[in-house]
């Protein structure tokens, strides 16, 4: 069989159980979306890690520039009032 196939990269997101968000798990190579989903299933849910999968073409992700870190994120440092630390979380809220 021939060498490495020239397949695009896909970002894989796995939802561990109902009610929680999809979380980035890693990447797979695949020729298209449907097979990316199948490859993600084989690589990231082998040990019953998930109940739902998303795949997104890596090229379609717009990422922030590491050089912008200070201007983007530092201004939030001194705004502790944004943290809901004065609220008590009811027991009924299982996942937050």
């Amino acid at each position: 069989m021939s060498g490495k196939a020239d397949w695009p990269l896909w970002e894989v997101f796995v939802r561990a159980k109902r009610g929680v968000s999809h979380v980035h798990a890693g990447t797979v190579h695949a020729p298209d979306a449907e097979l990316a989903l199948q490859n993600a299933r084989d690589l990231f849910t082998r040990r019953s890690e998930g109940v739902s999968l998303w795949v997104v073409k890596s090229n379609d992700i717009t990422a922030s520039d590491p050089n912008d870190r200070e201007s983007l994120f530092d201004p939030a440092d001194d705004k502790t009032f944004r943290h809901p630390t004065d609220f008590e979380l009811p027991d009924e809220v299982a996942n937050m």
Binding site: M1, V28, H29, A30, L35, Q38, D42
Partner: protein
Amino acid sequence: MKPLLTYTLRQGDRALILAQRLLETITHAPEIEEDMALSNLALDLIGQARALYTYVAEIEGDIDGAVRDENHYAYCREQHEFQNPLLVEQPNGDFAQIIVRQFLHDAYAFPYWRVMQHSTDETLAAIAAKSVKETAYHLRHSRSWLVRLGDGTDESHRRAQAAVDQMWRYTGELFETDEVEQALVSASIAFDPDELRNTWLHTVAGTLTEATLEMPDDVVMQNGGRSGRHSESFSRLIGELQVLARAHPGATW
């Protein structure tokens, strides 16, 4: 041999031999992702074979004061004692051949396990309930690939068509019936393979059309797997499967 024993053994052999062929492809698939996919199929099939062989041992019962286990059927039988259909032992060749063999098998195995969930034999029905989920995924994967190869590049189309033409002659055997099977069909332990063939043909025809591939004309079907008459490459497959168990009988780790 009891019909139920022979019948269960055949199904176990079908799963094991296909798994062994798939395992030969490890590190040879087009990408590491497909390597994982093919070995996952093999692992499911080995699981099915184990369950079926364990049941065979149970049916066989006490032999010379001992009960056999699943390993006996995989490692201690001669090649003419394996009763798998010839389709699953066909050599891997190129990726198109691997996918076509898998698809023609899965299009049979999925409706087979689906109907076997209604078997009056509780053990076979339970094995079917687990296997049908696994096989639904196998069919989805092999079908996806066949459509992409057939409706892909000129070369992938050519190779896929060649693989279909080559494997076609081994598909008739999947639906053959004999007195072993008839006995079980009349007890609703197994089911009429004619109906299964219609379902299979429907899946295959639809997929080939979508893949822009031609269904081969009627050809003379090859058979002999059930009577232990296997192809030449089968002896090498069995040799590799059994070499460790033969060299070190009873080895554990």
